[in-house]
Symmetry: C2
Subunit: 505 residues, 2 copies
């Protein structure tokens, strides 16, 4: 069908063309069907039906398609209906609860990466895997397909190790300590990390306070080979690109299907060429894993998946019931980590955990018998600080930066204890909500600093936590939320008042 192109000044992830109802009927097309567009060049796009503005004989061409096919406004283009890709049939199969073959999973992942699936089709794949689950064959194939449809790193020499946290606990800035400790011992640790989606700061957001994290795969390789470690943002590379697209479906539904969780983590580790890998699984109320039993079962799955992929995986179940360290928010977390490296000490929950994880890496990589002591000796020798500065410099940051140079938001508000008592609870989700309301992760200086954590004794008037913000209106919003939903509970307090305000009748 020959139609006149009308360029639509919008660029979205998907290739889309917009048709008039009558033309769509003429060639039997429905919304979500696919067409091949032929002009100077040719591509495949999904059909949307416009309820106005596209006349009969016209076709709306979104910018992405226009650029790819070199179409200008008013050009004649040819639209040919084409069948759904094979992968849709395989997704239907998974919807029916059947096991997928290796080739079927590869086909689905390729189409996810190439954006050829509609939102309905991709959602169906994610939900079907969520509800029906996947067996280990399928999870292995999914992981391999995710690796192979993206960039991969190979190192000629050296022992390549890595760590990953499944997330869910605020203030988890341990990578800024683990990476330099491990690299100081001569191991290679090309750590890629994510930015915050629902948290207050991802490791990439935190590291970005001190250095550039938008590194290409070549830069990651070069820096790792040169200084032993890197802390980069996965999103700037093309490592396991299917992952981001799958997460876009999971996020609005607040689901984290285990097959995708396993594949997502392990694909990233396999893609950077790591052989010995430690997975941090925070366990506790308000984290992703509610109890140790679930944590163990997940750990078993990681180890088994690692075995299938040829990776030596050990999991650490860590305490995730309250934030790690005291700081939550990009600049505050960078400050806390750098301070710890400078002073060779810091909050126990941060130092013990970081050195514990580094220690396991040393043990499984055959570097030390008592990994924790080895890690501690590196940390306390000052070598870790030196290494961290080398990494910062290699990533384009200032190696001479001191923790106290780090800019924290200058709008602050302290919450103080209203009664004497002990801290019964520090609630992860509420801390994150407040830090995000204050501006984190976008405003680097925004966040929450804890002065008291679970078990601390407090006196009336003691500061419990401080909110930092860069903008007054965000501080106000964060204060309002913190008042309504206090994140630190001193025993005897009222948890929440509902409704928050009394209304006049």
């Amino acid at each position: 069908m020959i139609l006149k192109a009308k360029i639509i000044p919008i660029k979205t992830g998907k290739h889309t063309v917009i048709m008039n109802q009558s033309d769509a009927d003429e060639i039997g097309l429905f919304e979500g069907d696919r067409v091949r567009i032929i002009s100077k060049k040719s591509t495949v796009a999904l059909v949307q039906i416009s309820v106005g503005l596209i006349e009969k004989g016209e076709v709306g061409i979104c910018m992405g398609v226009a650029e790819e096919c070199m179409i200008s406004d008013g050009d004649e283009v040819n639209l040919i209906p084409i069948p759904k890709p094979k992968s849709v049939e395989y997704i239907r199969k998974k919807l029916d609860g059947k096991k997928l073959s290796r080739d079927e999973i590869y086909e689905i992942v390729r189409d996810i990466v190439n954006d050829t699936l509609t939102e309905i089709e991709l959602t169906t794949f994610v939900l079907s895997s969520h509800i029906h689950g996947m067996d280990f064959d399928e999870i292995e194939w999914l992981t391999r397909a995710m690796v192979e449809t993206g960039d991969v790193l190979t190192f000629e020499g050296g022992t390549v190790v890595d760590k990953h946290s499944i997330g869910g606990v605020p203030g988890n800035k341990i990578s800024l300590i683990v990476v330099p400790v491990v690299a100081s011992a001569g191991l290679l640790i090309p750590k890629t990390s994510s930015r915050a989606i629902t948290s207050a700061s991802g490791t990439a957001d935190t590291m970005e306070v001190l250095a550039n994290v938008n590194l290409s795969i070549e830069e990651i390789k070069e820096i790792t080979e040169r200084v032993g470690g890197v802390i980069a943002w996965t999103g700037a590379t093309n490592i396991a690109p299917a992952d981001d697209k799958i997460i876009k479906v999971e996020y609005p539904l607040a689901i984290d299907p285990r097959p995708q969780l396993l594949a997502s983590v392990m694909a990233k580790k396999a893609a950077v060429g790591a052989k010995d890998v430690v997975i941090d699984i925070p366990v506790g109320a308000g984290s992703k894993v509610p109890d140790v039993e679930v944590g163990k079962s997940l750990a078993n799955d990681f180890v088994e998946l690692g075995r299938r992929l040829g990776l030596n995986v050990t999991c650490a179940l860590t305490y995730g019931g309250q934030p790690i360290g005291r700081a939550v928010g990009p600049a505050l977390e960078a400050w806390e980590a750098l301070k710890a490296l400078e002073e060779k000490r810091g909050a126990k929950s941060l130092i013990e955990k970081a050195l514990g994880i580094a220690g396991i890496i040393f043990e499984i990589a055959g570097k030390a018998l008592n990994g924790y002591e080895y890690a501690k000796s590196i940390f306390e020798s000052g070598k870790a600080l030196e290494k961290f500065k080398q990494i910062v410099e290699a990533q384009g940051g200032n190696p001479n930066v001191k923790s106290d140079d780090i800019q924290i938001g200058d709008k602050t508000y302290d919450f103080v204890a209203q009664i004497d008592g002990a801290v019964a609870n520090v609630m992860n989700e509420r801390i994150v909500k407040i830090a995000r309301a204050a501006g984190a992760p976008k405003d680097k200086g925004a966040g929450v600093l804890l002065f008291k954590k679970g078990g601390s004794h407090v006196k009336k008037g003691d500061v419990l936590f401080r909110i930092y913000a860069e903008k007054e209106w965000k501080l106000d919003k964060a204060i309002e939320i913190a008042m309504r939903e206090p994140p630190i509970i001193v025993s005897g307090m009222i948890l929440e008042r509902y409704p928050s305000y009394r209304f006049m009748q």
Copy 2:
């Protein structure tokens, strides 16, 4: 957040605004999140993130939103993030396999009707119901919610009856006979029907050959009260509007979850005020219900759902293994039905079925003890033809139209038997595929006319079927498909040749 409006000349079903990544980060918004837009008026829209073309400080406003809030290009608008609707939480609950309450289902259906759910959320609701199923309470609430979120009809006097086919068998034009037969007996039958989605002709497409089917709910009531019956298109009314939006998710996945099927059919019957209802369930290879056991179980569900809604439901399991009558395609089917009314006879599969269904209506409405004989007497008396003409006239058609006046496509092609034998199989899906390729339902005159059906003896050279089309290129396409996938199988034939063509090496 105050942004400058940039009007995007596109109108889609959903309310959408398009933001720059940086602004979205600033207030913590992700794709699929919701904002309230405040200008001269205010509304809620879903956020899309543009990968270009929307500058920082700008917001793309789609036409629907622009019109509703009276926003012009360059206006300042205020965007305030708002939480997900409650219904998303309920959809999550269904995803986890839990039973929904009455209020939860009503909330979901209201949000479906108001287009406040994203495609991911709506897909999740449909798939979760598909995989986990719904119990009868939930199905009843779903049906009631679908009725109550749309228009409903009430008649002051008279016995209101209705019929519905769950579809799946081609050529099922029986409503054009059932409605006038039933109306002739003084019953009220406000029949609303669908257009083809995947079939060659829906009842609305067929009736449209003879009269206007785009009737308002008031016109349906008025005509039914005046002449006893109507054959209208549901889509022109606001009857059970949730149904169409749900079907938009089911269609691309080719699924038909039983809870939605039951609710979809029964909501439409309840909405028009029918008390006695016959459901036609075609059973057989190539229809929606493969065997009688499945048909019975579905029939039980319809009867039970009817009981809960206060409707007297009887199901007829009918033979659906090959087309009903001989004609497939809008004009051909209208021709076959009108011809049967004129001549008081026709293909057995058409006449027997139509009178059988009408007969059951008469029996359950207490109009006759032997419903079939009663229906037959009306049909043979010529009253049904007279009534049909009244209905056509009431719907703005020409009451004096003769079957032979109906315009059929003038491009034709006959397929003839290559051998002597008997017809072993007439394949529904292939017939539909050919008719659609020939142009049905968009080209009213396109379709397939069968000269031989299952069991017929044929001699080499006998015409098996004829393809009709309005356009030469569509006829060619249909012929090509029919050659590759013959729809009428004479015993001894090769079913299919694969690959279709021999390639030179």
